[in-house]
Amino acid sequence: MQTFLNLLEVEPIRLLISFGAVLFLVLNLAAVLTMAERKVSGYIHLRYGPNRVGPRGLLQPAADVFKLFTKENVSPGRSDLWVFLGAPIAMFIPAALVWLVVPFAPDAVVADLNVAILFFVAITSIGALGVVMAGYGSRSAFSLLGALRGAAQMISYEVPLILSLLGVVMLTGSLSLVDVVQAQGDTIWTWYFLPQLPMFITFYIAGLAEVKRVPFDLPEGESEIVGGFMVEYSGMTWALIQAAEFASMAVISAVTVTLFVGGWQPPLPFLDLGPFNWVWFGIKTALIMFTFQWIRWSVPRLRMDQLMDLGWKVLVPVTLIWLFVTAGAMLVF
C-alpha cells in the first residue's frame, strides 16, 4: 500500500493512474446517467422506468451493455468505413479528455493546468468533428442533414460559450480552474453565478446546445430526421456515441459547477467537509444534470433558424454587454 502511494508521487505514473481512474469514471458515468435519464423520464411520465433487472432495476445498464456487446456492428453498404468507425471515437475522446482538468477537490485534479479553461474550450470544439464524420461516413440523407445541423449548431454555440467564460476569467484573473474555484470562496453569495447571472444562464444554454440536449437536439431530431448523424449506428459504435453524449453532458455540468457554482466549495463555511468536499462537487453536478433531464422532458425542440437566432441575436449580444458591465464594475470597485 505504501509503495503504491509512493508511486503516486512519481509524475508520469500518477498521471497514467489518475487518467485511468477518470476514464473508468466516465465510462461508468454514462451507464449511471442512462439509468438516471430513464428513471427521471419514467417518473415524469407517471411510469416507473426500468425496474425488472436487479433490485429496483438498478442492473439495467449492465444488461444494456451486455446486449450491445453481443449485437452485430452493422455498417451501411456504401459507407466510408474508416470515417464511419472513427466517428464514435472522435466523439468520445474529447468528452473524456476534458475531465483531465476538472478539479474534483483541492488536490484531486489530474492535471492542474494553468490554461485549463483554454484547454476546455479547445477540446470541446473538437466535438463537432465526430458529428461531421458520422454524418459523412454513413452516406444517408438523414445522417448528412443531422451532421450539417450538428456542425452549424456546435460551431455557432461555441461563440457564446467562450464569451460567457470570459467574465469569470476577468474576475479571477486566471485561466486555471483550481484558481477559479478557490477565488469563489466558501459562501453561496460569493459564487460567480450571482454577479455573473446573465453569463451563467448563457453558459447553461450554450452548454445545452453544445451537448445536443433538448431543446437543442436538432442533430438527432428523432421526429424529423430519425436519429440524425447516428441513425446508421448499431451495437457498440452506437453505445460509444451514447457514452460520449452522456460524458459530454456530465462534463458541461461539471464545468458549469466549477466556473459558476463554486466547484467543491461548500455553500456555507460550517458545512465544510474537509477532505470529503468532493461530495459538494458531486451534489452540485448531479443537480445541474438533473435540470438538463428535467428540461429535456418538458419542452419541445427548436428549429434550425430559431436556434441560430437565439445564438447569434440573443446570447452573443448578452454576453458582450455583460463583459462591458463586468469590466466597468471592476474599474469602479
Binding site: L46, E222, D305
Partner: protein, 395 residues
C-alpha cells in the same frame, strides 16, 4: 373568436410567407445548386402511420412534397360488398382507428337511411354519448402527437393516460377497448351497464380537474411551442375549402362548418354546444381549436347524461336486414372532419357498393399545397395540424 386578439397582437410581426424561402429553378440552375431527394417514411418513427413523403430538399427547405399512400390498404370497401349488412360494422371499426364509434355511427346512419327504421331515443343518446367520449379520446392524443412531433415526449403519455381511462369505460360498455362493434343498425348493441353513468361522471370530473394543467399549462404558453407552431402551416380559408378540408383543420381557418350543426343528425339538435373556430389557420390555431372542442365535448357528455331518457335501445329492423334497392347516405362529424358513408343496395342482404369518405384522406391533400417552402422540421407539426390516421386514408 379565439384567435382575434392574438392575430391583432402579431399582425405587425408576421414573417414572410414560406414560399418566399424557395429559390427559383433558374437561379438554382445558374449557380449549380442541387437538391436532395429524401424519402420520409413509410417506416419513420414520427410519421403518422404508414405514410411516405417523397421530399425534395434544398438544404432544409422543402421544395416539393409528394405524399404516397396505400401502405395500409385493405380493400375495406370491396370486402364490405361481400359481407352481410350487420357484418360490415366490425369492419368499419378498422378504418379510422382513433374514431371507431364515428365510423360505426356513419355506416349505421347510411343503412338506416335505406331501411327507414325508427331508432329509440335512448339509443340515440347513448350513441351521442359514446361518440363524444370517442372525440375526447381522439382529440387529446392528437394534441399529444403534435407535441411528440415537436420533440416533447411527455404530453403524449399524459394524453394516453386519458385515452386509456376512456377506453376502460368503453370496455365496460361495449366489451372491447378499441374495436367496439357497439352501434348497430337500428340502435345500439346493449343498454349501458347500471354503474356506467356514475363512472362517466366521475371520469369527467377528474378530467376537468387536471385538463388545464396537463394539456394547457404544460403546452400553451411554452415559448418554444409558440415559435414552432405560430405561422407554421398557415393556410387561407379559400385554400382549405378548395381542398375539401373538414374538421379542426378547417375550423382553425375560421370556417364554422360542423356536420353536427349544419347537417344535424341523431340528437345533436337537442343539445347545446358551440362550433369552435379560430382565425389564424396555423398549427397553433388547430391546437387551440382541439383544446376548446374537448371542453365542448365534456359539456355535451354532461348534457347527454342528464337528459338521457329511459326505454329501449334497439329499433325493430327485422331478423334479416335486407333493404330495398336504393341508396343510403350518412355523414357524421368525426374528430378529424366529415366522415360520410354511401351505401348502395341491390335488394340482397349484402351491399352492392359501400363508399367511405374519410376526412384523413381528404385533409391529406393539404400537404402538397402548404408544405413547400417550409423547413423540414415543420413537416411534422403540419402533420399534427392535419392529424391523419393511416387506417382512415388507406381504408
Amino acid at each position: 373568436m379565439l384567435g382575434e386578439e392574438r392575430r391583432a397582437e402579431h399582425e405587425g410581426a408576421l414573417t414572410e410567407p414560406p414560399s418566399s424561402r424557395l429559390v427559383s429553378p433558374d437561379i438554382r440552375d445558374e449557380f449549380g445548386l442541387e437538391t436532395i431527394d429524401m424519402s420520409m417514411g413509410p417506416q419513420h418513427p414520427a410519421m403518422h402511420g404508414l405514410l411516405r413523403l417523397i421530399l425534395e430538399l434544398d438544404g432544409e427547405t422543402v421544395v416539393r412534397c409528394d405524399p404516397v399512400m396505400g401502405y395500409l390498404h385493405r380493400c375495406q370497401e370491396k370486402i364490405a360488398e361481400n359481407r352481410m349488412y350487420p357484418a360490415v360494422i366490425p369492419l368499419t371499426d378498422r378504418l379510422d382507428y382513433f374514431a371507431n364509434m364515428h365510423n360505426e355511427h356513419g355506416y349505421c346512419l347510411a343503412v338506416e337511411d335505406l331501411l327507414d327504421v325508427e331508432i329509440p331515443p335512448r339509443a340515440e343518446y347513448i350513441r351521442v354519448l359514446m361518440c363524444e367520449l370517442m372525440r375526447l379520446a381522439s382529440h387529446i392524443p392528437s394534441i399529444g402527437f403534435l407535441m411528440l412531433e415537436l420533440g416533447a415526449f411527455t404530453p403524449i403519455l399524459y394524453a394516453f393516460r386519458e385515452r386509456e381511462r376512456i377506453q376502460s369505460i368503453f370496455e365496460a360498455v361495449t366489451g372491447a377497448r378499441m374495436m367496439f362493434h357497439y352501434i348497430r343498425i337500428g340502435g345500439v348493441k346493449a343498454d349501458l351497464p347500471p354503474d356506467i353513468p356514475q363512472k362517466i361522471w366521475d371520469y369527467i370530473e377528474s378530467l376537468e380537474a387536471h385538463f388545464q394543467r396537463d394539456f394547457v399549462d404544460l403546452i400553451q404558453g411554452n415559448e418554444i411551442f409558440i415559435s414552432r407552431t405560430r405561422n407554421v402551416g398557415k393556410m387561407t380559408q379559400e385554400q382549405a375549402v378548395e381542398m375539401g378540408v373538414t374538421g379542426p383543420a378547417l375550423r382553425c381557418t375560421g370556417v364554422d362548418f360542423d356536420i353536427r350543426l349544419d347537417y344535424p343528425y341523431s340528437v345533436y339538435p337537442e343539445l347545446q354546444f358551440e362550433v369552435i373556430t379560430d382565425t389564424a389557420g396555423d398549427v397553433e390555431a388547430s391546437y387551440r381549436v382541439r383544446i376548446a372542442e374537448c371542453l365542448q365535448s365534456i359539456s355535451i357528455i354532461k348534457q347527454c347524461l342528464e337528459q338521457m331518457p329511459e326505454g329501449e335501445v334497439m329499433g325493430d329492423t327485422g331478423r334479416r336486414i335486407r333493404p330495398d334497392e336504393g341508396e343510403g347516405f350518412g355523414r357524421v362529424e368525426s374528430p378529424r372532419g366529415e366522415y360520410a358513408v354511401h351505401v348502395v343496395s341491390d335488394g340482397s342482404d349484402t351491399p352492392y357498393r359501400v363508399h367511405y369518405r374519410d376526412p384523413s384522406f381528404c385533409n391529406m391533400q393539404l400537404l402538397q399545397e402548404i408544405v413547400p417552402g417550409h423547413y423540414l422540421p415543420d413537416i411534422m407539426p403540419i402533420m399534427g395540424l392535419v392529424d391523419p390516421v393511416s387506417g382512415g386514408w388507406d381504408k
